[in-house]
């Protein structure tokens, strides 16, 4: 895409008319229209036969077209095409061009859902590219980060040791056994020698260092994680139930969730900013285009259909 040079400059603080012009230039729809016109116009000039229903009866492949065919062939990791292969590729190309023009002449592209959707999707891709036109400044990112800092919150983390009481070995007694063991561990330190003897061997680790909430939830089940992160550090506590059975837990430390400094997450902020801007550009462009249409609908959208549950409800049910 040929982009106006001015679009590549980082945004300067707006002032007077220059500022207004900058803002205007940053309007997604204008960007879209300008770039689109350039592309479309340029293409129409280069390949006039493609446009309009009065396409000419001449099909010409230029050396550039041949190069494209050649490169497409090579790109699939094959050795260079032989003359025969090249002839057949060219023949396919010509055949395609003929079918395409005849199809256009017959209006086969009209009123077709698939074609409509593809074109609509291409428009969306076009918007996306346009939204990539400008790099954000650091100040801009920081301001945006402050508005959306909750998105970048670092998860709480816990460092803990645990004793496992296995239902495989103890059946229904696992919980009571754990409670009794806890009595013996009152006031004992994390590495009390007696601790391991009271419990069963665990399939994975006995000590988990600095684990984020999500990882504890994946390893033990979410209910265990929720209970664990509510515990005060410094003593044996429990019993807590996991997806595997009952546990006594000694929490060394819990680092609560916190909002990072901007510098820590600048790269993430940048990619989130880009994604948000993409959405914004798409939304605005669509809104502005929509404003140019009059949309006429029946008054009652549901008239004549049996009432269906709304999808959100269906999902909750599902």
């Amino acid at each position: 895409v040929n982009r106006p040079e001015s679009e590549r400059e980082p945004a300067e603080p707006a002032a007077g008319r220059k500022g207004a012009a900058d803002r205007l230039l940053r309007e997604p729809l204008l960007q879209f229209l300008v770039a689109g016109a350039l592309l479309f116009g340029g293409y129409a000039l280069l390949r006039p036969e493609v446009f309009g229903r009065n396409a000419s009866r001449r099909i010409e492949l230029t050396p550039d077209d041949l190069r494209q065919i050649f490169v497409a062939w090579l790109a699939q990791g094959r050795p260079a095409p032989t003359l025969d292969e090249m002839r057949s590729l060219v023949e396919q190309k010509v055949r395609e061009e003929i079918l395409y023009r005849e199809a256009l002449a017959l209006g086969l592209d009209q009123g077709d859902t698939i074609v409509k959707r593809r074109l609509a999707q291409k428009m969306e891709f076009l918007f996306e590219d346009l939204s990539d036109l400008r790099e954000p400044t650091s100040a801009e990112l920081e301001a945006w980060f402050r508005e959306h800092s909750e998105r970048f919150a670092l998860p709480p983390r816990a460092t803990f040791r645990h004793l496992y009481f296995s239902p495989d070995r103890r059946g229904g007694r696992a919980r009571d056994d754990a409670s009794r063991a806890l009595e013996k561990l009152a006031g004992e330190p994390a590495d009390a020698p007696a601790a391991a003897l009271l419990a069963d061997p665990f399939m994975f680790q006995d000590y988990y260092g600095d684990r984020p909430f999500q990882q504890v939830a994946a390893s033990f089940g979410p209910r265990f994680a929720e209970a664990l992160f509510r515990l005060a550090p410094g003593s044996w506590q429990g019993p807590i139930e996991s997806g595997y059975g009952w546990h006594l837990v000694f929490v060394d430390s819990i680092t609560p969730s916190r909002t990072p400094a901007f510098e820590e997450v600048e790269a993430e902020v940048r990619s989130e900013w880009v994604a948000a801007r993409r959405e914004e550009v798409k939304r605005k462009a669509l809104e502005e285009m929509k404003a140019r249409y009059e949309i006429v609908l029946p008054a009652d959208l549901m008239a004549g259909w049996p009432a269906a549950a709304n999808p959100a409800q269906a999902a909750a049910d599902g």
């Binding site: 390949r47 592209d109 077709d112 291409k122 260092g209």
Partner: protein, 967 residues
Amino acid sequence: VIRHSVCVVSIGVALQLGLVADASAKKADPTKMTCEEYLSLSESERPVAAAFLEGWNKGKKHVDIGEVGLDRDVTTLIVSCQETPKESLWRRFEKHVPVLKKHVKPIEMECEDFVGLESDIQPELYYFLDGYDRATRTQTDVAGEVDLEQDYRAFVQVCKQAPKESLWAKIKAHFGKKQRRPVMRSELRSKTLEGIASAALGLVAAAAAAQAAGPDRRAYFGETHVHTSWSLDAFAIGNTITNPGDAYRYFKGEPIKHPLGYDVKIDTPLDWAGVTDHSEYAGVVNLANEPGSAVSKLPEAQPLILKARTKEEMERVALYAINTLAAGPPVKALMSPAIAGEVWKRNVALADEANEPGKFTAFCSYEWTSMPNNMNLHRNLFFKDCAKVPPQPFSALDSFDPVDLWSWMDGQRKAGNELLAISHNANLSDGRMFPTEVDIKGRPIDAAYAESRVRNERLTEIKQLKGTSETHPLLSPNDEFASYEIMSILLGDPPGRIAHIVGSYARQALKDGLAMQDAEGFNPYKFGFGAASDSHNTAVPYRADNFFGGHSFTDGTIEARMSGTLVGGMFDARTESTAGLTGVWAEENTRPSIFDAMQRRETFGVSGPHIQVRFFGGWEYTPDMLAAREWVATGYAKGVPMGSDLPPAEGKAPTFMVWAVKDPTSGNLDRIQIVKGWSKSGQSFEKIYDVVWAGDRKADKWTGVVPPIGSTVDVEKATYTNTIGAVELKTVWTDPEFDPSLHAFYYARVLEIPTPRWTTIQAAKLGVAPPDVVPATIQERAWSSPIWYTPSAEARKGAKPGTTVEDLKKQGAVALSDAQLKALIEQKSVWLQNKVTGEKFMIIYGALGKGADAKPLVPAEPGWVTQRFPAGQGQFQVRWVGRNAAMQSLVGDAFEASHFGTSRTYNIANGKIVTELVGAPIEIAVYKLGDKYLGARSNEFGYANYEIVPAEVELSPLSAAPKVAPK
């Protein structure tokens, strides 16, 4: 790293600098550091210390210096170190797979090349060479102290003095002057010693402590098959917004939008994933860079479009598009690099963006969507390194022939781009995923086909939304758990076609592979297992209690699903399954580590829950070993993990250590089974052993079968409890029926206790009856990749040779003609013996239709018609087969036929008795040798295994029964 200005300093001064530095405080031996000490190093020192260790490691293994990776990312080492602060850094390091961004060949470098390196990677190379040099100079395990900053600075000065000298020569001189103890292997320097080095490596490796510890591998769960709006079919059925970036967000645990607009969130986030949009349509969805040219090409799609343009027909249109694009003449215009390459680039960029080594791995991947004649031959392709992917994927438009795909993959690999393929939905392949005779173009399956397939197709996906491809009840009639989420259809629902079962399931392919290895000398079917989703929603439903379908509006509401909407006209939405996942045993959560795990098939499939399963095969495992805390290390040290070949036989029978732990958010475990397959004289067999189970159930004394665990499911309320079943199951199992002369494979299958199927849960929500087209409860499960046993040439001699058709002909046997066959079997009850198993049984061959009624009965009711079949066709019935008889492949359910009296049809044509199993023809030729009649079945690779024998009067003589229970 501080950059020193160039100045004239003599070598002597430089050395002096070095000596001064040695006296400074910052010295340590990295091979003796603890993780804690390593973490206390500065950010610039960490990669340097890692580089030293790598050099030391390579030197100690006597491996050629070769290419050295630099600019390392030590995040994963740091993360793994944080977990075990007291452990030795060296142990952590050995298990860590570095992420290296730049590669150099030090042997070929000159000093000025070194000086010219970026200042932050210079020290990495220096300390790598330091480590290597020290390792090769000393025979002890003591590296000595290293100054991670000063040594290097001194050397840079030295090197600047002699820009044209060899870096390696200079560095050795430099180290030498530092007065290290010289040792015997001081000149063990690369190229010249490759041969010796590899021999030495074997000796050293055997003794190394690292070997005894074994690799430290964890289970990482990931998705290998999902579509976003960038796949045309997904887009066409209404998934128009979300892209691969959204898919990765979903897998990491963020809620995203279902195509119908509501939020969906994963239950347990994944460790890794690869989005696999259809390569065939990638080009169609993006022309942003050249909108004019792309628009111009669009009407190419015209011939694909159906006349129907109503919303109801949309998905049918999409399917038609897929069929035609994949099966019909390729529409090359849509595949120009400018178009397809652009979307592929975006895909790669999004994978790179989502990839967080140590936390979440995102692969560069795509789906090759070949489906000639509606036969699903799809494969998902995974690349090891996104930096090396081709400009454009090889699509089904380039060729629908898997053989061409494999040769393209070979080419990529040769060019340094590691990649592998995962076949999927063998169950929808119409029997063509696992051919045994000819390939898709009619060429015979041969050794070259087998090698190419095994080299490229490392895994197969055995469960996903559209059903299970492990096995089918008609192929495994003695497997009571075979009827699990079966779906037997053809994509696109071609009218008048019935999908073939034979050739569509993985277990049968593994068995056929053994028979082919035995009879023909090659095995095309040595693959590992994985499972996935094939969701077209970007988001994926893995759990029965959070099932939102996989196909946009066709199954996106509870009403659409539960009213049995025919998705794409192909299948009842209620028969759709939850999505599966692939577990890999890998050192760490990075692309190279997980890719390597898939490459060595150390993978397992799960039906949805994150069940973990380990499976080791060897010759000397004992219960004591399994009971010990370091049993996993023993597993690796004394045998092989899932996906491998058993080492050469050392004992009477192979032993297996198998272990499974439940998903903490799902049902308890019922049992672990080992599925064994083996082959003899062209026939293949399977047997399922219950090896460890929950509770105090007793295995049947005679068959070893463990009774069902029962059920806690309340179907009406759709609930269950974990009051039955086990959290963890493990055992050591020895094959009680091992024959060292026969090829075999073994894999583990883990079953959960019964839980409500998603349809039962949603029926309860709606207050309607659970659907009668699917079971109300299921047993979620996990499948380990197989371990293969290959007999040595010596052991093969112990096998009793079977009789081949070739042998018979040499002995003068003559094939019977149609008329002779008719005379031999029609309206007769023929007693046969399977010469391989020794089993005897009877087949009743009814009258072949004459276009009129069959022979009138005497003495009564001559008008009663016994059969009325078209000309040339009759029915046959197998009699007197017991439930536990050893049955060869592809005979259907012979016990059921025998017991219930069911029949199938046969005819006689071209000198063969022609039968079929769900449409797959199985033909029997009969040869007369003297007064003997011998039969050869067409699926037994040239063997004539059946002989007509005299009628039996006693089916199971007591004199022949074993006196002691086998179990």
